[in-house]
């Protein structure tokens, strides 16, 4: 067994390939139903979440439109509406409903959406090599020592109260930094979408694309580290 790496997604061309209708064998041209025999068609598990919900690969999606589309498709595929249909159609509706739920759960959260888009665009997280943020790591590990001291101290003692005050200040500082990171991320999301909308295939455009992906990767990672220590802080001093 070698290093664990998540499977890289299929190339985009393959995901969009339409097969024949499973029922009447005609070439399926409709989005979710066969245009000839009107049978429901399975959404392939290889279909990316954006395509599944009928949205372009963008990072600033209107949450209301996303929700509306999700509800619409939920009704379309809901297994309750297939109870009188054939077993094959029931199975397809169930599968589609599951794929749809996963897609919506991922895309409705901006951070998860960005993580997902990065995975689609670059393969696994580890494919973008970034240097670890050494200063942030040192800070986290030092903070952990303080947390450990606090855990083993008598909380009502002078020392315990002082440590708590230190940790509370740290927590506020880190939460502030996380908000700043999120603000930066949202700016990058807008930059990314604008770049995609321009659709240029020039080499400056490609450089800009790589720069944005790397910057987003860094910020998303650092945000995860900060979130992780903030949660630990909050749970300990609560």
């Amino acid at each position: 067994m070698d290093h664990y790496t998540p499977e890289s997604p299929q190339p985009r061309g393959l995901q969009m390939a339409r097969s024949m209708c499973w029922h009447c064998q005609s070439a399926v041209t409709g989005e979710y139903f066969c245009e000839r025999c009107v049978k429901v068609q399975p959404v392939s598990k290889e279909t990316d979440h954006f395509t599944c919900l009928g949205f372009p690969r963008r990072l600033t999606l209107d949450p209301k439109k996303l929700e509306a589309k999700f509800y619409e498709l939920s009704r379309t595929f809901h297994p309750d509406f297939y109870q009188t249909k054939s077993p094959a159609e029931q199975t397809i509706s169930l599968g589609n409903a599951a794929v749809l739920n996963t897609a919506y759960r991922t895309l409705r959260d901006p951070i998860q959406r960005a993580e997902y888009l990065l995975a689609l665009e670059t393969g696994s997280v580890k494919d973008i090599r970034t240097s670890p943020p050494a200063e942030l790591f040192e800070e986290i590990l030092e903070l952990q020592d303080t947390l450990e001291e606090f855990r083993s101290s008598d909380r009502d003692s002078q020392e315990g109260r002082e440590l708590r005050a230190v940790l509370e200040t740290e927590q506020r500082g880190l939460e502030q930094r996380r908000q700043e990171m999120e603000a930066q991320l949202h700016q990058l999301f807008t930059d990314w979408d604008q770049l995609q909308d321009r659709g240029e295939a020039t080499s400056p455009a490609r450089e800009e694309r790589d720069r944005l992906l790397k910057h987003m990767r860094d910020l998303l990672s650092n945000r995860t580290y900060v979130t992780s220590i903030v949660n630990d802080l909050a749970a300990t001093i609560a």
């Binding site: 067994m1 664990y4 995860t224 580290y225």
Partner: protein
């Protein structure tokens, strides 16, 4: 899902927790993180005559990450640089009986070992060529 006895043992009695001063002679420092889960690991080695005479770690993360780095420091002590290069994450998985969802913790430990060795090598090379 329960942790194996060995993981629990390393978690409750971590070996070689702590740190060396980074700029001391013969110290190699590896600092790595897992952006997927937010775990952070620092692993340091102390080298004399091509042999690792001491190792220390600090880890912020789950039980498996702590156990993996604790075990790594135990294994590193007494090994030559070359022997240390051979340590694989799969060895750690096997020894600690890590479930599939925790394999990334062992990968992190292997990355930390590699980073510490590389850092030591870089410092040693710098000294040899007198550029320090």
């Amino acid at each position: 899902m329960a942790y194996s006895d060995k993981v629990v043992d390393h978690f409750n009695n971590p070996r070689n927790m702590g740190s060396f001063k980074k700029d001391e002679d013969g110290i190699g420092t590896g600092m790595v993180g897992a952006p997927e889960c937010g775990d952070v690991m620092k692993l340091q080695i102390k080298v004399q005559n091509d042999t690792i005479v001491d190792a220390k770690f600090k880890t912020f993360g789950c039980g498996s990450a702590i156990a993996s780095s604790s075990l790594a420091t135990e294994w590193l002590k007494g090994k030559t640089i070359e022997e240390a290069q051979q340590i694989k994450n799969t060895d750690i998985v096997q020894e600690l009986n890590l479930p599939p969802v925790k394999i990334h913790c062992s990968v992190l430990a292997e990355d930390a070992i590699k980073a510490a060795l590389a850092d030591y090598q870089k410092k040693a090379d710098g000294e040899a060529s007198g550029t320090k």
